[in-house]
């Protein structure tokens, strides 16, 4: 009898908690879509906010988000892949490997508000970049570096040792071997790493709010003006509308877009990772 009670209780807990988790997710998505979908229109996506006409538009925020994603990835990708190559292909010094791996884990664990602080003193103040998208992107490089290192490293580890031995046996130099044999076989991990990193940039708000600015106006990305471009990304725009303007319609519409981006990035990381591996 007691065992039956135990079984019943345990089963109830398992089903109950799982239902709660799923229900929560369903509610979150449903609620965001219901309040946000209605506000999304062509002009919402392609214009900037106009106080005169009283319209809301997030084109600048979309462009700023893209800018930060592209710039921070362009900088972090070579660094991260290079670090992973060092760790898996070259490293002899065990202490150095331990130090780099520890550092990478530490970077992954540091909260974003600390990155915001460091970005503010390092890039905005010390390097005199002010609050610009450039300063924000540079701060994000530190944040996404561990993501790229880790996923490149994981996938380099799965490249069979025989590939390397084969290439070296045929007389290839080490760098040539890495470039033509190892990296192409590890491209799935690198791409997945980039997508995960892009997801992190899209979802980040604290860092960008304090290092990249909160302007909702259209920014000029021409080379001469680039260093002055300063504005909000999607997440910061959401915060701006919710907390400072109390315009929850616009905030939920941005949340809907962020949700869609998250789904797309999640799916493509899974699909691309698998597909590239097979080919």
């Amino acid at each position: 009898m007691r065992r039956k009670m135990y079984d019943f209780g345990a089963r109830a807990l398992l089903y109950g908690c799982s239902a709660l988790t799923v229900g929560l997710l369903g509610f979150l998505i449903g609620y965001i879509l219901i309040r946000g979908l209605g506000g999304i229109s062509w002009s919402f996506l392609t214009t900037s906010e106009s106080v005169l006409r009283g319209t809301v538009g997030i084109a600048p925020a979309i462009r700023n988000t893209l800018f930060v994603v592209v710039v921070s990835l362009l900088l972090a990708l070579p660094l991260g892949v290079g670090a992973a190559i060092y760790l898996t292909e070259y490293a002899r010094n065990k202490r150095l490997v331990a130090a780099i791996e520890f550092a990478s884990e530490a970077l992954a664990g540091i909260p974003s508000i600390i990155y915001a602080l460091v970005g503010v003193i390092l890039f905005c103040t010390a390097l005199k970049l002010q609050k610009t998208l450039l300063a924000g992107s540079l701060t994000m490089v530190m944040m996404i570096l561990p993501t790229i290192i880790r996923s490149t490293q994981e996938s380099l580890k799965t490249v069979p040792q025989s590939y390397r031995e084969g290439a070296l046996g045929l007389g290839s130099g080490k760098w040539h071997m890495i470039r033509t044999v190892v990296l192409p076989s590890a491209v799935d991990g690198i791409v997945t790493g980039c997508i995960l990193a892009a997801g992190r940039v899209v979802g980040e708000s604290a860092v960008l709010m304090y290092t990249a600015g909160m302007s909702m106006a259209m920014q000029d990305f021409s080379p001469g003006r680039l260093a002055r471009a300063s504005g909000s990304t999607l997440t910061v725009a959401l915060y701006h509308y919710a907390k400072e303007n109390a315009d929850f319609g616009a905030a939920f519409s941005i949340a809907t877009i962020l949700l869609a981006l998250t789904v797309i990035l999640n799916l493509s990381a899974g699909v691309l990772g698998k597909k590239l591996k097979r080919s």
Binding site: R3, S18, L79, G82, I114, L122, T125, Y210, T235, L238
Partner: protein, 278 residues
């Protein structure tokens, strides 16, 4: 080429050093000026009156994280057991991506839903003057750490050798007894790692709780408006003057938060190491 790649690897170390050194250099002056004791144990934070005591912030961060763990960990653990042991395959394959979606949702989105749903609901249910409270922050944090707890615990549970479970079943234990009395204890260090990681995420979260916690530096109480270590920084970072004592004190909070996180990370490494050694 080797030199180049070594340099890339050293960048990660360089970044960590840079962050630590900058935080220490810019965090120490205010601590010295205010006095370490008065800074850490002072009960009032009021920049206008030159009072910089962060005890309420520290306690709020501790209580808030503890609350989130108390709510989030059991729910996450049971969901993980369900996913890895009980759920039919098709169902697990539906829930799993959903959980990883939950992990990818930006924190401002959690904050927004918290602001529009949770805060008014708490105000009505508990008859509060305002729903922005420690309780609201705890619930938001619990939801946010849930996916981490679920996916890591599930990985740990999957790694339990089948023979353990088969032996237990053969000895006459029911399936559920096996899951809780054999599988879960065997996966305990992995689950512990999941909990520690969840703690790290909860301690470090800023934006979501900035939107629901009210941000007044009260001593923590469930229904009061509170300020965390993270929000203590974020709420004043845009409004403090460069070089002022207030700005410097924010960096001191950053240093304290950084030490907290490093302690948690060290603990996490310890747990993971023990797991590796069995």
């Amino acid at each position: 080429m080797q030199v180049l790649f070594t340099l890339c690897g050293l960048m990660a170390v360089g970044f960590v050093l840079l962050i630590s050194v900058y935080l220490i250099i810019s965090g120490l002056p205010a601590m010295r000026e205010i006095g370490l004791g008065r800074f850490l144990f002072g009960k009032t934070w009021a920049a206008g009156q030159n009072q910089y005591g962060i005890l309420p912030l520290i306690l709020t961060s501790i209580y808030g994280t503890a609350g989130a763990v108390v709510i989030g960990v059991p729910i996450g653990f049971f969901t993980a057991v369900f996913l890895s042991k009980v759920a039919p395959k098709w169902l697990a394959n539906v829930i799993r991506p959903a959980v990883s979606l939950l992990a990818g949702i930006p924190s401002v989105v959690y904050g927004l839903v918290g602001m529009c749903v949770l805060v008014p609901a708490l105000r009505n249910w508990l008859n509060l003057p305002a729903g922005d409270s420690l309780l609201a922050a705890i619930i938001v944090l619990a939801v946010m750490i849930l996916p981490n707890i679920i996916s890591l615990s599930e990985t740990a549970l999957e790694a339990v050798p089948r023979e353990y479970e088969e032996a237990s079943l053969a000895l006459g234990a029911t399936k559920l007894e096996t899951y809780f009395r054999v599988s879960a204890p065997a996966a305990k260090s992995g689950i512990a790692a999941a909990v520690v990681l969840g703690i790290g995420r909860a301690v470090g979260e800023a934006m979501a709780i900035m939107m629901v916690a009210g941000n007044v530096a009260n001593m923590p109480a469930l229904t009061k408006s509170v300020r965390f270590l993270t929000t203590g920084i974020s709420i004043e970072l845009n409004y403090s003057r460069d070089g002022s004592l207030q700005r410097q004190a924010l960096f001191s909070i950053g240093l304290v938060l950084f030490l907290f996180i490093m302690l948690i990370n060290a603990f996490l490494n310890l747990v993971l190491k023990r797991e590796k050694e069995g």
